[in-house]
Symmetry: C2
Subunit: 205 residues, 2 copies
């Protein structure tokens, strides 16, 4: 099951939910042996941070263009037609020790490089704007075959992006990720302790 | 038209869109003489801040529980069944001069008080958590009949909430809003210049 809805108002029969999120399951096939997606691991980590007053970081809802809504009765609106929209920002943001935190998480099945096509132009523009405002911005990169997770600061991602724009390679080599990024060991609780890397990089602890 | 989708991937016929967002239009009926909703005014202000590198603040997408998606062909997914979920955070957040900014915007047709039922328990909990992390958190309150807009810091909202929990009144009086809040004059560009109040309150300029 991909969707969690601790704050959901509506009860939806389990059978219906199981039938729905097909894309996600295919996409994260390599990850399924652990039964958890990168997104679930990050949501779990963010819940851990929130419960312990360590940080307040949430994943933004998936942007949806709602076209048709049915109101069979009051407080029971059913969206009958909607479309996925492209997000204009990164997926995760929040606050840690007064600082603005902003990041995107992506994974690849490749073992030797991380394709830059995982990111969209507007996300790159957003990351630049966040850095200009003095926010802490980064990406979490997962090599799914090796189960390795790295935190790479946005400033590095932006230079690799620039290299591509200037006609260079369309990916970041694994060596570059290792050299510029910071490996996050997979833990139990929290699963992906990225705040530890932030503490180290920005001397916040 | 309530929905904007500058980054939307899908083209949706205008006629279909016009037919959709009925709730919103009813809700903001008192505001319709200006043809703009509070949300649109804030989105416009945030675009103004973004374009001029003043601040990076976005409205979060409406949280939707997706139940059934139809894939007639690749890259043309249609959401056939979905439900509105209750948001677990406030609607707006972002970064201004390195600081985390977080707020909720609400309006009332009442002239003498602002009902606290406009806020949900989990939003109050979220605001508390943001303040504990040293974030800048507030609400933008609009008295639609008078066309008056105030910025009220979350710390005040939390005390009014506490008063209600302890058996006190279920609203903030207009006098209290005037005394504890800061009136934001309605402008042209940006329409709601709340960053000016933040500058004043937190000495950021």
């Amino acid at each position: 099951m991909v969707f969690n809805y601790p704050n959901g108002k509506k009860y939806i029969p389990a059978a219906k939910i199981e039938a729905a999120p097909k894309i996600k399951k295919q996409k994260n096939a390599a990850y399924s042996n652990r039964g958890m997606t990168l997104e679930e691991d990050l949501n779990d980590s963010n819940s851990f941070y929130l419960d312990r007053n360590i940080a307040v970081i949430h994943k933004k809802p998936t942007p949806v263009q709602i076209v048709n809504v049915d109101y069979p009765r009051r407080s029971a609106a059913v969206i009958k037609e909607a479309y996925f929209k492209q997000a204009s920002t990164t997926d995760y943001n929040g606050v840690y020790k007064g600082k603005y935190i902003d990041f995107e998480a992506k994974e690849t099945k490749f073992s030797t490089s991380f394709p830059l096509k995982n990111f969209h132009e507007h996300q790159i523009v957003h990351m630049k704007a966040v850095l200009e405002q003095g926010g802490i911005c980064f990406v979490i990169l997962r090599f799914s075959t090796e189960e390795e997770i790295y935190l790479l600061e946005a400033s590095y991602l932006l230079s690799f992006w620039e290299r591509m724009i200037s006609g260079g390679r369309k990916s970041i080599t694994k060596e570059e990720v290792i050299e510029c990024g910071h490996k996050i060991p997979l833990g139990f609780h929290p699963r992906i302790d990225y705040i530890k890397v932030i503490d180290y990089l920005y001397k916040l602890s």
